[in-house]
Assembly symmetry: C2
Homo-oligomer: 338 residues x 2
DNA sequence: TTGTAAGCGTTATCAG
DNA sequence: CTGATAACGCTTACAA
């Protein structure tokens, strides 16, 4: 005798109710196929007695709908990605879907591997949360993998600029950077430094462009750029360097909140008053920013995830690009030039 | 004609290589069954040509090993849970497993639902990351659900105190709270306030006990307790209340880092010098704590996740309780009593 | 060393 | 309205 699943199978339910496996199936999944009320009741009763619960695996195999959504993030510990994931999971769970999380540490080769695994599980959708790289050596491979995945009917979505074909739900990075820079300049600051994101990332490039354009539109120096990598540590280090300069700037803008908070910490450590002496601003408005009361530009990160998940569970074919709005959020780390 | 998976099936590979589906299967999964080098080569070649990749679903169905790990967290945006999840995913991915994340917001009913879904997918393991509640009205239901899951051969692990039967990998909450309190007292402070975790949670109770015991062992007032809920906001609010008192304490300890950082923010906002006037300490040492340079007690959260995942992928039957060590991490938010 | 065939637990087609 | 039965794609005795 073979080992039986404790929860039983449709066969068990059918036997117990004295009906065929087909009939049992029909009442237990909301099939449109007609079933008499009497039989229905018996099947339901049998299922209850046996504590029956259908095998999602078997069902997925035959229906080709796995109810699995994959979300590819850089690092789930990063609040930016965590908030996206939360958005995904909230709508996924409500629809009975499972959310698989894959940390790729911004490495394209890992993304390729993880995408393969997700494909093997016939994930219904895969969400790429992070930005892509300019001139990515593995870019073509990833694009090919994505293409195959889509041909297999997996719906792929990107929440940032990516070098492969798929619908996107994105923020206007350039615009967001422009707006926060513009806001800082509107406070009367003329010399503002910028701590960039990781070189090569589209998101970094776009935000930097936004900063530069805002600066030059305002007729101020746009070259005070320090290279960062979205990390707290680089923000900290860059800020230290910045205040050591002969003629330090009046404001610092970080390419993301984490970097800006690193800068903030460095300034406080060095007893440089914020915003008294130097104003600081970040981007994306993650929880960290709220905690630090950091001026930033809010992009609806949670909504990115939720919207992407909604498209997947609803099976809608999406418009190729949706841009979600951002808005400047003034807080206590910036002040009018004293 | 029925729609074919683009990646093909074993049948396709077999046909292409001119061998049976069984042989193809044998070479394509590292089966011990002998296969001649010639055939093996042909199968491999065929698989390559067809871009074949096995269906994880079908495989899971027959082998009863889904290679799925579920992790039940309160909220993935909480750094504590995110770091655990990262630990899980790192070892899971290396072993070809997928990590499913379930946000339960500390609601037992949601945990029950999510566990059911995970069971339907025949998850190989489920990790409960968060603490349980004293006198949980749904506690018995969850315990029953866990029992059924385990009977179905799902290995359940808890990373905190839980009211159901299963192996645990935990920290010594009482000891950790005791040690950080003891450390703060060793700095010469005599009046120290405590901002607790959510009432009813085992973790809250244990940490509070640790605080109280350390206080009374040192012969100082152990009653300066303010109710919190592990949130930044409550830490902030409590700190405001604390400094408004007639005779404010010399130190504040938060039941977790987030609360402590909330308190920190309130103090800074109110221009109370930290640690000059009041020392502040937290617990668990999440990234937030490092960012804020907060004195805290480090518990190896990432390791919790990693260790749990390792047990699941290795299939080892675990010792019923493993306690991972903690250690006090002095940083800049505490100082010797001036 | 290779192949045949019986599942794994569903759904869905097609007859009754 | 109900029931066989053929998939879904794979693994694994059991034979050859």
């Amino acid at each position: 005798m073979t080992i039986r699943r404790l929860s039983g199978s449709l066969a068990d339910v059918g036997r117990q109710a004295g009906v065929s496996i087909a009939t049992a199936s029909r009442v237990l999944n909301g099939s449109a196929h007609p079933v008499s009320d009497a039989t229905r009741e018996r099947v339901l009763e049998a299922a209850r007695e046996l504590g029956y619960s259908p095998s999602a695996l078997a069902r997925a195999l035959v229906t080709r709908r796995s109810r699995i959504i994959g979300v590819m993030v850089g690092d789930i510990v990063d609040a930016y990605f965590a908030e996206i994931t939360r958005g995904v999971e909230d709508v996924a769970a409500r629809a009975g879907y499972m959310t698989i999380i894959c940390n790729a540490d911004r490495r394209t080769d890992l993304e390729i591997d993880q995408l393969a695994v997700l494909s093997d599980y016939q994930a219904e959708g895969v969400i790429f949360a992070g930005s892509g790289f300019l001139d990515d050596p593995r870019g073509a491979d990833l694009a090919a993998a994505v293409k195959r995945a889509r041909e297999r009917d997996i719906s792929v979505l990107a929440l940032a600029v990516r070098d492969f074909e798929c619908p996107r739900i994105v923020a206007d990075n350039r615009g967001a950077a422009y707006d926060i820079t513009d806001y800082v300049l509107s406070l009367g600051h003329r010399r503002v430094a910028y701590i960039s994101g990781p070189p090569g990332l589209y998101a970094s490039r776009d935000r930097l462009e936004g900063f530069r354009r805002a600066a030059s539109d305002a007729g101020v120096e746009a070259g005070l750029v320090h290279e960062g990598d979205f990390s707290y540590e680089q923000g900290y280090a860059a800020a230290l360097q910045i205040i050591a300069e002969a003629d330090p700037p009046e404001a610092i803008i970080g390419a993301n909140d984490e970097t800006a908070i690193g800068a903030l910490a460095a300034l406080r450590q060095a007893r440089v008053e914020v915003p008294g002496r130097i104003s600081v601003a970040g981007m994306t408005d993650t929880r960290l920013a709220r905690f630090s009361d950091l001026t930033t530009v809010s992009v609806p990160v949670y909504q990115f995830g939720a919207a992407a998940a909604r498209r997947i569970v609803s099976g809608e074919s999406s418009p190729s690009e949706t841009v979600l709005p951002h808005r400047v959020v003034p807080r206590s780390t910036t002040a009018r030039r004293g």
